[in-house]
């Protein structure tokens, strides 16, 4: 599974990054790189079994505190 995910990411590197480098679009490449690496890091962490915090939990807590009790 881990290998498969890495293959998918590598596939995207080949199809997307190479043309970006060829066309010298550095800004796009930077943004691309940041998001890509974030996603890859998350993937690796999830593979390793680390439970990443969900961004919705604080929202849920916020809403609960505003609205009062749930339901």
């Amino acid at each position: 599974m881990f290998l498969f995910c890495t293959l998918v990411y590598a596939f995207f590197v080949f199809t997307d990054v190479v043309p970006l480098v060829q066309n010298k679009k550095w800004k796009v490449l930077a943004v691309y790189g940041v998001i890509f690496i974030t996603a890859y890091v998350f993937t690796v962490l999830t593979e390793l079994g680390v439970q990443l915090p969900s961004p919705l939990t604080p929202i849920g807590d916020l809403v609960a505190s505003i609205v009062g009790s749930t339901g």
Binding site: F12, T43, P55, G60
Partner: protein
């Protein structure tokens, strides 16, 4: 191709499929019980003024999507901040929907499959579709939506054998308050999620009519959702509808024609994938367009892949389990979505009208 403008009918078809998206597997109106039909109709009426607002905003700024409109209206800084909010909304909605589908496939069919596999497949297809652009999605939806509606109609017809009209009575037993609460629920999921279409569609001056797109799209989507929900209610009854995770799916399992046409729910559920695919693609496209506008990248197609990959992996950890998913959908989502669906659009609309009024005065004087 680069104009990213699609004809009215196609946009309407995309919107209808978007609305059908997760409602076909989750059902709507979670606590409405036997009044779900009433709730849906009232929610449809309640969302109408907001649809008019969304359409009006797009009509006032031809050839611009919401991100560009925000920049125009509120200046580069505030506009960017607001864009960031919508990017976040689109992204989170996409992750939620993808998680819905993944849980569905997991629980209903493949409990042993690692959660990556359906997510990976859905994600890759969505990335590909978004890269091809809204034009392709529009044309695709125009055909597939007919196909989808036909299948839904056939399945509903097959379910009628097990339908029981008593399940719809008594009307409004739980009282007005419960109905209102459910209406609010249905309003935000899925009706007013069409706010995202403001970020994705661009109106061509002559060819497009945003009011037609929003109203027709939502109307047909409303009818389909109504039919499906009523079918669920008639076949399953109010209690069962509330207590299962995927009411439409369970309703279909009951179909048994002559001992031959039975257990066809997998056929039905795979077809639901079509609409889920459209919904996730639109969310992904919206997020990518937003990022493109925010950072000035000159084209959203280039970053579809990493955003899509990030979306896929976020799907994995956005909820811990299905119970958290249900809980969030019942209790929190309506409030979470409220600012994006109601507050911000109204603010944008007022600002837009004021500006249009000023421009009119300036040109007259």
């Amino acid at each position: 191709m680069n104009k990213e403008v699609i004809p009215n009918r196609q946009a309407g078809a995309v919107m209808t499929m978007f609305l059908m998206g997760s409602t076909l597997i989750l059902g709507v109106g979670f606590r409405a019980g036997q009044d779900v039909w009433l709730v849906i109709i009232i929610a449809g009426a309640a969302v109408a003024p907001f649809l008019a607002i969304y359409a009006r905003i797009l009509a006032l700024f031809p050839e611009q999507n919401l991100y560009q409109i925000l920049n125009t209206l509120f200046g580069p800084v505030a506009g960017r901040v607001l864009s960031l909010l919508y990017i976040w909304y689109a992204f989170s909605l996409g992750a939620m929907v993808m998680r819905n589908f993944q849980e569905f496939i997991n629980i209903v069919s493949f409990p042993e499959t690692p959660i990556f596999v359906p997510i990976m497949m859905m994600g890759l297809v969505c990335i590909w579709a978004v890269k091809e652009g809204i034009e392709v999605l529009g044309r695709w939806s125009q055909l597939m939506f007919i196909f989808l509606v036909v299948i839904i109609a056939v399945v509903i017809a097959l379910s009628m054998e097990d339908a029981d009209i008593d399940n719809m009575r008594p009307v409004a037993y739980s009282g007005f308050g419960a109905i209102m609460r459910s209406t609010f629920n249905v309003f935000s999921f899925p009706m007013a999620e069409t706010v995202l279409f403001m970020t994705v569609l661009r109106m061509d001056r002559e060819r497009n009519n945003p009011h037609y797109i929003f109203f027709m799209g939502v109307l047909i989507g409303l009818i389909v959702i109504l039919m499906v929900s009523v079918r669920n209610l008639l076949v399953l009854g109010a209690d069962l509808t509330e207590n299962v995770y995927f009411p439409p799916y369970v309703a279909v399992t009951i179909i048994n024609i002559g001992n031959f046409l039975q257990r066809i729910e997998v056929t039905v559920s795979v077809v639901f994938l079509f609409s889920g695919f459209v919904k996730i693609s639109i969310c992904l496209m919206s997020a990518c367009m937003g990022i493109d506008n925010l950072l000035g990248l000159g084209g959203y197609r280039q970053i579809v892949a990493p955003v899509g990959l990030l979306l896929m992996i976020t799907t994995c950890f956005i909820y811990k389990n299905i119970m958290e998913m249900s809980d969030f959908a019942f209790n929190v989502y309506s409030y979470y979505a409220f600012p994006f669906q109601v507050v911000l659009p109204v603010a944008v609309w007022i600002a837009a009208e004021v500006r249009a009024r000023r421009a009119l005065n300036a040109s007259e004087s």
